[in-house]
């Protein structure tokens, strides 16, 4: 498969996952804001940790009322990371490889884009942001359903899955990061909002019977083997997809992306939760997030940029040419 095609599929899935994650976080935080933040100052303090975790401080620029945060997070065209910009970017990726996608997939994505572009999204937002965010989430779910059910599970699909799981692992880390506050213990509301943001509330309840604690929440979202948004689950699927692409057996590695993923997976498989909490949640999150970023970069180097491949080929061609030249003499 052409590198460019793989790269576009990967990013298309990432951007859509990002739009969904952002929608969920806004939904949850907004619900809480109604209960806990009653004036401009409280509002600002309330949004601050989330924006920090999302690297989205742009949404609350100085001088702007905190009430505009949500609007910015959804509609900002300039900032990468807003829901609209994620959908636009995903559509642009899809457009580049349209002939490789199923028609339904393209139509779905194009409609989501046109929904924003045409101003319909704004109209819905004025009626209430909840419905709009719900619609974005639904769109993402339909997209995921179609990509699993309507395109062959070959190399291209592996790159789609790779993008989805790497982004999802990153989003879960970011959600957990909102609990990592220096001066204050997370409240019950904070814990609930993280679980909701990761669609983990009912799965969590089932497992812990409503026993809400930082220890359980962090343990669940980091290390659950079966919950599809836990970091461990996402890493495991990243690992599987990487090995399916390279056709190198699991447990071995043929490139940096595979090595880093395998190492990170071993880390979450064999980490003691008490140990993690003792050192502070921040440390492991920082480590995981920087590993996830590196994996993404290595996927790009290995399959798209090909620098080592280019270097070794250049060397081989040079040798060939020298041999030819020496024979001619």
């Amino acid at each position: 498969m052409l590198s460019r095609v793989a790269d576009n599929l990967y990013w298309m899935a990432r951007h859509i996952e990002r739009a969904e994650g952002m929608s969920r976080m806004i939904q949850v935080r907004q619900g809480l804001a109604l209960e806990y933040a009653h004036n401009e100052e409280q509002l600002e303090l309330f949004w601050e940790p989330l924006l920090k975790a999302l690297c989205a401080e742009w949404a609350c620029e100085s001088g702007e009322p905190a009430g505009r945060v949500v609007r910015n997070l959804i509609f900002s065209e300039a900032a990468s990371g807003s829901i609209f910009s994620s959908i636009s970017l995903a559509r642009e990726n899809a457009r580049m490889v349209r002939d490789q996608l199923s028609e339904e997939l393209w139509v779905e994505l194009n409609n989501a884009y046109l929904f924003f572009r045409s101003g319909e999204a704004e109209d819905l937002y004025r009626q209430g942001s909840h419905q709009l965010l719900e619609k974005v989430i639904r769109f993402s779910l339909v997209f995921q359903g179609l990509s699993d059910a309507a395109i062959p599970h070959t190399e291209g699909w592996r790159f789609l899955s790779l993008g989805k799981y790497l982004e999802r692992a990153d989003l879960t880390c970011r959600m957990l990061n909102t609990l990592n506050l220096p001066a204050k213990r997370p409240t019950r509301a904070d814990l609930m909002s993280v679980l909701r943001g990761c669609v983990a509330l009912s799965a969590y309840r089932e497992k812990f019977h409503g026993n809400l604690s930082l220890r359980n929440v962090a343990g669940f979202l980091l290390f659950s083997k079966s919950f599809p948004r836990s970091v461990r689950f996402c890493l495991e699927h990243t690992d599987r997809n990487l090995h399916a692409i390279s056709e190198v057996p699991a447990g071995n590695f043929s490139n940096e992306a595979e090595r880093l993923t395998g190492a990170a997976l071993a880390r979450v498989n064999f980490t003691d939760l008490d140990n993690v909490l003792e050192k502070g949640l921040g440390e492991i999150l920082l480590e995981l997030q920087s590993t996830l970023t590196k994996i993404g970069q290595e996927v790009f180097e290995t399959y798209v940029l090909l620098p080592s491949e280019i270097k070794s080929l250049e060397k081989r061609l040079l040798v060939e040419r020298q041999e030819q030249a020496s024979q001619q003499q």
Partner: protein, 484 residues
């Protein structure tokens, strides 16, 4: 009103009509008899239904083109008419041999002007005409292209005059498009009128992608393995992008953009998830100017830096070759009959439309005095742009063209207005005569191959002589009949 009633009202109006002859009453030509019978039995509902099928089939398969100037580029389908154009085999055989003769002569001409230039020395074609052609590439001088073939794909536009004679209107020798419509139109017609189609022994066209691929593979510089061929497209924003993906898929080759290719040590490689793969042949749907920013246009982001170097080193082949534009210059066109005589010692089987070359003083003054009766064309434009149809122009437009001609006579030619043949076509007001042309696709590999027929383009606006898709044209399927 049903179609049989519409046909009763049909009028030939003095034009050469592809389907009908007028002698006292209206009579269908023998090779159109079955279609005429079918049309007579067609109900309005059937027409609606067939048309809807056709339109949705085009959309589903992504056979669309992009209309520029609208936000984000809008995709449209190229309007398709359900009445096929029919050519009897006996007629086609003449056209086919004429096209073969023409591409062979044009190819010899290209080989000649990029080598010794005998035709210039012998005074048949003026050196000035060749050198001043906008698409002449001095860098190609002395370079021997693989297999001595320059023109691998040529789209030659044919028209018929009021006597029904086939005339060559122009040779599209750079990156002719439309072959995807030719293939898709056939698929749709087979589904829409299976019995009529089956009963007429129509010669198939489905071999086109295979023939094209074979012509490409014939050029491979390495013979150690199965050649790696790719289709180089300017990308998704190009109006013909869907044709590119369509053909690439039919041939089973990769469609690539400039950034997918990298030049290392004068060889071309494509970036894939399995590493770098050396490319042997590039079917490029990109004009010369954009191929290599380190060689031609520096501002082009579409091409591959180093590509020309790899090409001139013989490590990668291009189809068409670089520099073929000199053969589709409308001034060169006027000399094609002379070329045929010069290289092949034969008379041209297909005639040209008489052409006035404005750089000749006598021709120019004739043109300037008779603008109203002529078609004026820019020598290096395509797609129906840069054209004046004298009979259909305002005095302001004529003055404008007169100015352009005086300022740059080399770049303009003029021809008498040929009254193109017409063909019955479904229109708003019923079945009406509309002007048509024919673009066969000539492939030059080990042999010259032409799939029977070609793309019939139809000017859907009443009275219009311009068939280009960008100017409100549509298309029809073209049936060459074995038994006539």
């Amino acid at each position: 009103m049903n179609t049989s009633a519409q046909l009763l009202e049909y009028a030939v109006e003095g034009f050469f009509d592809e389907m009908f002859v007028e002698d006292g009453g209206l009579r269908a030509r023998p090779h159109y008899q079955m279609i005429h019978d079918r049309l007579n039995r067609l109900t309005q509902e059937e027409i609606m239904e067939r048309r809807q099928q056709a339109d949705s089939s085009f959309l589903e398969r992504g056979i669309t083109f992009t209309v520029y100037g609208e936000e984000g580029g809008t995709e449209r389908i190229f309007p398709f008419d359900l009445i096929p154009r029919v050519i009897p085999e006996s007629e086609w055989r003449v056209v086919e041999s004429g096209l073969k003769q023409r591409i062979i002569a044009l190819n010899l001409f290209l080989n000649d002007v990029y080598h010794e230039g005998k035709i210039i020395k012998d005074g048949v074609v003026p050196e000035e005409v060749v050198r001043s052609s906008r698409h002449f590439r001095p860098d190609m001088s002395g370079f021997s292209v693989p297999r001595e073939v320059y023109l691998h794909v040529c789209g030659t536009d044919l028209i018929r005059d009021d006597q029904g004679n086939y005339l060559v209107l122009e040779d599209n020798a750079r990156c002719p498009s439309g072959a995807s419509y030719l293939l898709e139109n056939r698929e749709i017609m087979k589904r829409a009128f299976p019995q009529t189609f089956g009963g007429m022994s129509v010669r198939p066209v489905e071999a086109y992608p295979d023939l094209l691929l074979r012509a490409l593979e014939y050029l491979a510089p390495r013979d150690s393995q199965k050649p790696v061929c790719v289709l180089l497209s300017p990308g998704v924003y190009n109006s013909a992008y869907f044709e590119h993906t369509f053909l690439a898929r039919q041939m089973g080759i990769e469609i690539v953009e400039g950034k997918d290719l990298i030049c290392l040590d004068s060889r071309i490689f494509m970036r894939t998830t399995r590493g770098l793969v050396q490319v042997d042949v590039i079917y490029r749907r990109l004009d010369d100017d954009f191929l290599d920013p380190s060689f031609f246009r520096k501002d082009s982001l579409l091409g591959v830096p180093g590509l020309m170097n790899a090409y001139l080193s013989g490590n990668v082949s291009l189809a068409n070759a670089v520099g073929t534009g000199v053969a589709d210059d409308k001034v060169t066109y006027a000399y094609v009959p002379d070329m045929i005589r010069y290289y092949l010692n034969e008379d041209a089987i297909l005639q040209n439309v008489p052409t006035y070359l404005c750089w000749r003083d006598a021709d120019r003054s004739h043109v300037l005095e008779n603008l109203e009766k002529l078609v004026v064309k820019a020598a290096n434009e395509s797609g129906g742009y840069g054209m004046l149809i004298g009979s259909d122009s305002t005095s302001e437009q004529r003055e404008n063209f007169a100015r352009l001609i005086r300022a740059n006579p080399r770049e303009y030619v003029a021809q008498p207005i040929v009254s193109l043949s017409r063909h019955p076509t479904f229109c708003q007001e019923g079945i009406c005569g509309r002007h048509v042309d024919l673009r066969p696709f000539v492939l030059y590999g080990e042999d010259v191959e032409i799939v029977p027929g070609g793309l019939t383009r139809v000017a859907l606006r009443q009275g219009s002589l311009v068939v280009n898709s960008s100017q409100g044209g549509g298309s029809k399927d073209t049936w060459v009949l074995k038994d006539f």
